[in-house]
């Protein structure tokens, strides 16, 4: 009986495919993260000056249990941070550092307050308080 369930050539091709896929996945997990940190001013009155936040950020903020209704951007910083590296930032009166832990996870250290470690994939957003009055800090991954 000379039945072949699968040929050796096909097996090798499948192995190479998975090998390359694993390599590509590993590479994707280690690539630098392109992030944006925004200092956002919050109020219950419609802002007269300042750039309003994007509709996407506004929608996310309005779903949070915050007492404010209006949000505008005071300052924003876009930066790229490689795996296992940290990027220090100053936003208003707040100092923070964003570290890329790999695998789309970050460690955000808010000087004087504490440290937050969590995943920050595209579409996700991390919100924390600022040293400025009625302000908060938003960190997200850029597309």
């Amino acid at each position: 009986m000379n039945t072949k369930f699968f040929s050796a050539t096909r097996l090798v091709c499948a192995a190479l495919f998975f090998f390359l896929l694993a390599g590509a996945s590993a590479h994707a997990a280690d690539k630098p993260l392109k992030l944006e940190a925004q200092l956002i001013l919050c109020s219950n009155d419609a802002p007269t000056n300042g750039r309003p936040v994007t509709p996407e950020i506004e929608k996310k903020l309005k779903r949070l249990p915050l007492k404010w209704q209006h949000y505008s951007v005071v300052s924003a910083q876009t930066f790229s941070v490689a795996k296992d590296e940290s990027k220090p930032l100053v936003l208003g009166k707040s100092e923070l550092a964003v570290k890329n832990l790999g695998g789309e996870r970050v460690e955000v250290t808010l000087v004087g307050h504490g440290k937050i470690t969590q995943s920050l994939r595209k579409g996700q957003m991390l919100v924390t308080n600022s040293n400025d009055d009625a302000c908060l800090i938003v960190v997200r991954q850029l597309d």
Binding site: A8, T9, L11, V12, A14, A15, L16, F18, F19, L21, A22, G23, S25, A26, A29, D30, K59, K60, L61, R63, L64, P65, L66, K67, L101, G102, G103, R105, L110, V111, G112, H113, G114, K115, I116, T117, Q118, S119, R121, G123, Q124, M125, L126, V127, T128, N129, A134
Partner: protein, 174 residues
């Protein structure tokens, strides 16, 4: 003339009939013109076939001729039964390729295992759950997670300051 009479004529021509019956057929053909014509036609056909039939003659005795054929058959049969010769390269390839494939799969699995971040083993929900450490002993952090929007709110507060700056505390997390 029926079929039986025609067959009798054929048998007569082939000399297969007993003598008495043969005499009856002979007299019948002398009396009956149709029977005589059929007999003549059968004779002609037989002669024509006899002339056209090839006369093959063997150069040697019949037994010797068939024994040669038998020996030739016996000579060829063992050759067909022998398996084709497997070269060293073919044998190596037969086992080496699957071995390489399995090795590659193992290596790929190991690479994937050691390169994937530590959190990949956990569920997505676990990976999205923030870990918060506060710097000051008297400080606290309130965490709120909106899973559908992928938003995490971490609000740090200092116990001594809570009364002085209540406005910073999110209204819904009181």
């Amino acid at each position: 003339m029926n079929l039986e009479q025609q067959l009798k004529l054929q048998a007569f021509l082939d000399g297969e009939l007993p003598e008495r019956e043969a005499r009856e057929i002979l007299s019948w053909t002398q009396r009956d013109g149709v029977a005589a014509a059929l007999l003549a036609e059968l004779k002609n056909t037989r002669q024509a076939m006899a002339k056209s039939e090839p006369h093959l003659s063997l150069p040697e005795a019949r037994e010797f001729f068939w024994s040669k054929i038998e020996r030739e058959i016996q000579r060829r049969e063992p050759v067909a039964a022998i398996a084709p010769e497997v070269t060293l390269f073919t044998a190596l390839r037969r086992w080496l390729l699957p071995a390489v494939a399995v090795s590659a799969l193992v290596i790929a699995g190991m690479i994937a295992h050691f390169n994937v971040p530590k959190t990949a083993g956990a569920t997505v929900a676990d990976a999205d759950t923030p870990t918060v450490e506060t710097t000051l002993a008297n400080s606290d952090a309130t965490t709120y997670r909106d899973a559908s929007e992928g938003t995490t709110l971490v609000w740090f507060s200092v116990a001594a300051d809570d009364s002085s700056v209540p406005s910073k505390t999110p209204a819904a997390i009181n």
